[in-house]
């Protein structure tokens, strides 16, 4: 598994908010070690009589040894929250928040690109390693099974779909990562593929792309050059009209490279097995592993 495992100690930024509290609860129920919450002004209290709340990330990390952060802070304050986590020394940050201005993400990425930190998201479902009962995100935990398939995706529910199909096909997951639907994200397909490449627990990878940008083409180049495990790829949005934002801020066709057919072509040429239809992710992976 990659990024999160049994040693992951999670601090939830925005734990006293509605969404933050709801999902912190569910993560804990799944088995995740939620060791702290952070809400400025609420330091010194206990959340749900269980989790200590701190005013700052620096305090939270110092007091609890948290090494992973899950962010539910509203968009206007989310950049601040991410950067606070980075400077507090957090190694893996999952930012669920949707609606961060793209130019904020540009700055955030520029700041952390040379630091030892993985930012998953923003605008993502988070990540989960079922084998470690470690869920750092908003995905339904019960569809996952421990196993050897890595999943990396720009989407939320479509990832759940993929996971459910894998589980149904008898294929458990090593780690599933939703990199997020924004045009600029902290982590791209290539970053996650590099980790899966080195991960002995991962035998094959499901990659789920969509229209907009060129992250799938970058993934294709990396797969062709260096990736050693079978990849099964699905790219959605083939029928989306150009110039329209399809839900995700990043899912908008603004040029040739943003089209699904271009992405599919690049991935196929790189040796990935293309999923013929969204209903056949699980079986395609099963077939790909047999070869």
């Amino acid at each position: 598994m990659i990024l999160v495992n049994e040693n992951t100690r999670v601090v939830v930024q925005g734990i006293t908010g509605r969404e933050g509290g709801f999902h912190a609860e569910r993560c804990m129920a799944y088995g995740t070690q939620i060791v702290a919450g952070v809400t400025p002004g609420r330091g010194g209290t206990l959340w749900q009589d269980k989790v200590p709340v701190f005013d700052t990330m620096e305090q939270a990390v110092r007091e609890t040894g948290a090494n992973c952060s899950l962010i539910f802070v509203p968009a206007p304050f989310a950049t601040d929250a991410i950067l606070e986590a980075v400077d507090a020394g957090i190694g893996v940050i999952a930012c669920i928040t949707e609606g961060i201005p793209v130019q904020e993400s540009v700055k955030v990425y520029s700041y952390l690109k040379d630091k030892r930190v993985h930012l998953i998201g923003p605008n993502c479902p988070g990540l989960i390693s079922p084998g470690a009962r470690c869920k750092v995100g908003i995905m339904p935990g019960d569809i996952h099974r421990p196993g050897t398939i890595g999943v990396v995706s720009r989407s939320g529910t479509l990832t759940y779909e993929a996971v459910a199909q894998l589980t149904e096909a008898g294929l458990g997951q090593s780690t599933c990562v939703g990199i997020g639907g924004d045009p600029v994200t902290g982590t791209d397909f290539v970053d996650i593929l590099k980790l899966f490449n080195k991960d002995p627990d991962t035998e094959g990878v499901v990659l789920i792309g969509e229209i907009g940008g060129a992250k799938e083409q970058e993934a294709a180049r990396y797969i062709k050059r260096s990736f050693k495990k079978p990849v099964v790829a699905l790219v959605v949005g083939a029928t989306a009209p150009p110039g329209k934002r399809m839900g995700h801020a990043g899912a908008i066709i603004t040029g040739v490279s943003g089209r699904a057919e271009e992405k599919i072509r690049a991935l196929r040429e790189a040796g990935a097995t293309i999923v013929p239809s969204p209903g056949e992710i699980g079986v395609t992976m099963k077939r790909a592993l047999r070869r």
Partner: protein, 386 residues
């Protein structure tokens, strides 16, 4: 969010980008007066959120105030159909009346955020005045790109590099670099997702002017630009899209007859692809969005069936944050009001899928519950054949 050319140009001018003299008219009389003030010979431009205006007759060059008035009569209150609009076109409620500028050369200039470079990129081309996608296809070597690293922001040398590469005369380079820098300031300070001047023209006397202007603003940054939302023109959007926006539902109008309601953007796109692959046409993209409750689901359902083209509905829910039982209750609620006779195919999976199906079954609504996408397609085809 798209805004009108005249709005973009007003912002450009505030940032020191030269634009032609002109004014906005809502009536033919106003158009005449502006033309009068500008000396007679003007261009009258329909203000619509769609490219391809010129070929569609939305831009008229005229020689007198009277002719400007006539041109405005021909445009105002009409719908303009371009290759970027549907057959119903977009309404013209304002025209921009501008002086006619003599043109020596037409250039292209734009700034977008490059998701791979993770930074703004300035795009320049000496092949201005054309659709830049066409230039990219035919003359990719004529498209220049300069990445603006967020640490240092725009630097004059970036503008000079572009200006020299576009083969601008040496005397114009400094001015061009300034305009490029100003466009970058617009892009950053106004939180744009696209800032485009096409064409940027060089006049015979060596001046540079933004003859057209396009500015898309980042919806996600409205919270720090209180005035941006006022620039919106809901008339230019599909009414259902505008309505969806109020409820924070992502809805995009399409041309088919299969109404779609899905939770999650990726799953919604996948759903469209599946429908298309089965040679059916989706009527819309709809992502209920995160944090949906019963009321939001009901609202989404209302939107789907409000489209008169919709003849059948496909609801695809993967329960996660939005539980299937909640989605089912929302559907039951909306159906109770609407009593639509349309066939509804529902696929539910994930959290509380069983409860959701039970609720739908118990409700007496004539839904067809299916287990997977394949079956969903089969059912949709079946109901479509009748």
């Amino acid at each position: 969010m798209k805004i009108h050319e005249h709005q973009a140009k007003a912002i450009f001018a505030r940032y020191g980008i030269p634009v032609p003299e002109g004014g906005v008219a809502s009536t033919p009389q106003e158009a005449r007066e502006i033309a009068q003030r500008l000396g007679g010979r003007v261009v009258v431009k329909a203000q619509v959120h769609a490219g391809g205006r010129g070929r569609a007759g939305g831009i008229k060059v005229v020689d007198s105030p009277e002719a400007a008035q006539q041109a405005a009569v021909a445009l105002l209150g009409k719908h303009l159909v371009t290759h970027q609009t549907g057959p119903e076109g977009v309404p013209v409620s304002k025209v921009l009346v501008e002086q006619v500028v003599p043109v020596e050369r037409e250039l292209y200039l734009a700034i977008v955020v490059d998701g791979s470079g993770k930074a703004p990129v300035i795009i320049g081309s000496e092949a201005g005045g054309m659709d830049i996608e066409e230039v990219a296809a035919i003359h990719p070597e004529k498209i220049l790109q300069v990445r603006v690293d967020p640490i240092i922001g725009f630097q004059p040398y970036m503008g000079r590099d572009l200006a020299y590469a576009m083969h601008l005369p040496s005397a114009v380079v400094r001015n061009a670099a300034t305009i490029i820098g100003n466009l970058h300031r617009v892009f950053i300070d106004e939180d744009a997702t696209l800032a485009e001047i096409n064409p940027l023209v060089l006049t015979p006397d060596g001046k540079l002017l933004a003859l057209d202007g396009k500015l898309n603003l980042d919806d996600d940054a409205f919270f720090r630009h209180p005035t941006h939302q006022q620039l919106q023109d809901p008339e230019q959007e599909d009414p259902l899209e505008v309505e969806a926006g109020k409820y924070d539902i992502s809805y995009v109008k399409l041309d088919g007859d299969v109404g779609c309601m899905v939770n999650g953007a990726g799953l919604a796109m996948a759903t469209l692809d599946v429908i298309n692959a089965a040679h059916a046409q989706p009527a819309n993209f709809l992502d209920i969005g995160g944090g949906g409750d019963e009321a939001k689901v009901a609202q989404a359902f209302r939107l789907v069936v409000a489209d008169p083209k919709v003849k059948r509905v496909f609801i695809n829910v993967f329960g996660g944050i939005l539980r299937c039982d909640v989605a089912a209750r929302g559907i039951v609620q909306a159906y109770g009001e609407l009593k639509t006779p349309m066939p509804i195919v529902v696929r539910m999976r994930g959290t509380n899928a069983e409860e959701g199906r039970q609720i739908l079954n118990d409700s007496g609504i004539p839904v067809r519950l299916v287990a997977d996408l394949k079956e969903a397609i089969a059912q949709l085809q079946q109901v479509g054949r009748r």
